[in-house]
Amino acid sequence: MLSRWLHLEQPIVELEEKIDELKRFAASENLDFSAKINRLEEHKCDVMRRIFADLSPWDRVQMARHPKRPYSLDYIGALCSDWVELHGDRAFGDDGAIVAGFARLNGRSVAVIGNQKGRDTKERQIRNFGQPSPEGLRKAGRVMEMAARFGRPIISLVDTPGAACSPAAEERGISEAIAHSQMLMSRLKVPIIVVIIGEGCSGGAIATALGDRVLMLEHAYYSVISPEACASILFRDPAKAPETSQQLKITADDALRLGVIEEIIPEPLGGAHRDLKAMSVALGAAIEKHVSALETLSPEELLEGRYQRFRKLGDLDDPQATTAHLNGAPV
């Protein structure tokens, strides 16, 4: 059992190993175990259905952080043709934690920005674990402004454990970069589709999550703070992260109920990493649907709609309003 798999996947991986072994044995001995193999495959499906029907929020956090989970560039590769990545903020550096560029998606030219994590140790360093630095957000801003000028819709793929956490990020204004990116996105006169594909955590996530539509993959999570940090601050015990993740209401279902996202994109059984192709097809279809709908709007309608989309988010008691809740039922 490799550390590349989650604990919750253990029964599945064990079954898969058994099936593989059986297949190898059958081949080497020239025997027919197909009936037995089929039974095992069916059993595996049952096991997977059972496991994934009942994921806890903490399980989802693990799924969102799965070492095999597809990252932005995986989806771009699977979904797009003609991907041209652009680089640099023209002022300080090129941040590996954010990719930005233009590509063709369903025949339509779009700008894509995305948090990017690294697969191995070396790439993780270059990508800084998907934590955007100020220069990454400024690069994304430059590309998004270009997209707006050339009338290209923007797809923003969010997958970050948070903004870069370092003296260097503070010195170069990570606060300003996050703030500015949000303000910029609120004013761009092209459709913006945001998809939380894995981790959507904290200011690093909202920095590039201000769009006309915000979608979430089934096993992604979206949170104001990581469960570990929250547990450590509020309960002085990072080990309480699993229950904190429950209390923070961070799953796609929670986000939908809170009115924070428009749609949950279902993942293949077992999670996105078990079938990148199927996941990409579903992702591409969801993006297409929303972009097509938004393209019928005038720039003014688009901006007004985007403003109001976030404007109404909040849960409070307003005695002068007709309904107590501005939006969404309390969870």
Partner: protein, 270 residues
């Protein structure tokens, strides 16, 4: 301190029981009466004590008229301990939440102003805070008032989860609307101005004015130290540090703050 500042000292919250107040920075025992006259700054080391939201607005403006006082917080996540903590803060501060906003005049000029209260759950931004800030910008736009905000906050209010994260987007978008008009927004950064608030509207002022020594940043120094196992210098994220790194426009001592703001508004508007 400027002579004009003296009368506003009367608007600061008196602590009648204590005749002396100890400066936490240089340990000097300050005569409370003098300390109040100095707008709660230390006469010796010029340490700036934190002000409550009402105090802040009192020393900067006249004719304050509160907006949206009726907005009260909910508990969208039914988060453990949120209600009792909040109730305690409400009792302590007499306010419904951490944000105070409204109309006022500054040297006779109508403005819109908001201040967060660090004494209310660390001045954290939940739905009420975000809604009040958004309404502040929208109403300022309607009534053609320049906007001043004074932050003193640890950031987003975790207990409201995603609802509090959304306030970052909402308030940043509200600044975006104001920017399309000839209305200045001056963001006053007081100790501390951090995390989700600093990473939204508070960084988007046309001019960023900080009080001396205020801690300003995104991730707190302690978290960075723990994560990277490093030791940061004492002045890390201080207003002076941020100034050196090009992040803020000016550092103004409390006694000169009102005068500076009036001057700035006049230069941008008259």
């Amino acid at each position: 301190m400027s002579p004009e500042a003296a009368p506003v000292a009367a608007r600061l919250e008196e602590i009648p029981a204590n005749l002396v107040t100890k400066c936490p920075s240089c340990n000097t025992m300050l005569v409370t009466k003098d300390w109040l006259r100095d707008l709660k700054t230390c006469a010796r080391c010029s340490h700036h004590f934190r002000l409550g939201a009402r105090e802040r607005i009192a020393i900067l403006t006249e004719n304050f008229e509160e907006w949206d006082a009726e907005l009260a917080p909910h508990d969208p996540l039914q988060f453990p301990d949120y209600l009792p903590k909040r109730s305690a803060a409400q009792i302590k501060t007499g306010a419904k939440d951490s944000m105070l906003s409204g109309a006022a005049t500054l040297d006779g000029r109508p403005i819109a102003i908001a201040a967060s209260d660090f004494g209310f759950m660390g001045g954290s931004m939940g739905s009420v805070f975000g809604e009040k800030i958004t309404r502040l910008f929208e109403r300022a736009l309607d009534e053609k008032r320049p906007v001043l905000t004074a932050t003193s906050t640890g950031g987003a209010r975790m207990q409201e989860g995603l609802m509090s994260l959304m306030q970052m987007a909402k308030t940043s978008a509200a600044v975006g609307r104001l920017r399309e008009e000839k209305l200045p927004f001056i963001s006053i950064l007081t100790d501390p101005s951090m995390a989700g608030v600093q990473a939204s509207f508070a960084s988007l002022g046309d001019v960023l004015v900080a009080e001396p020594g205020a801690m300003i940043g995104f991730t707190g120094a302690r978290v960075i130290e723990q994560n990277l196992r490093i030791k940061l210098p004492k002045d890390f994220q201080s207003a002076e540090f941020q100034m050196a790194h090009g992040q803020i426009d000016m550092i103004v001592p409390r006694a000169k703050l009102k005068e500076s703001l009036a001057q700035l508004l006049s230069l941008l508007l008259d």
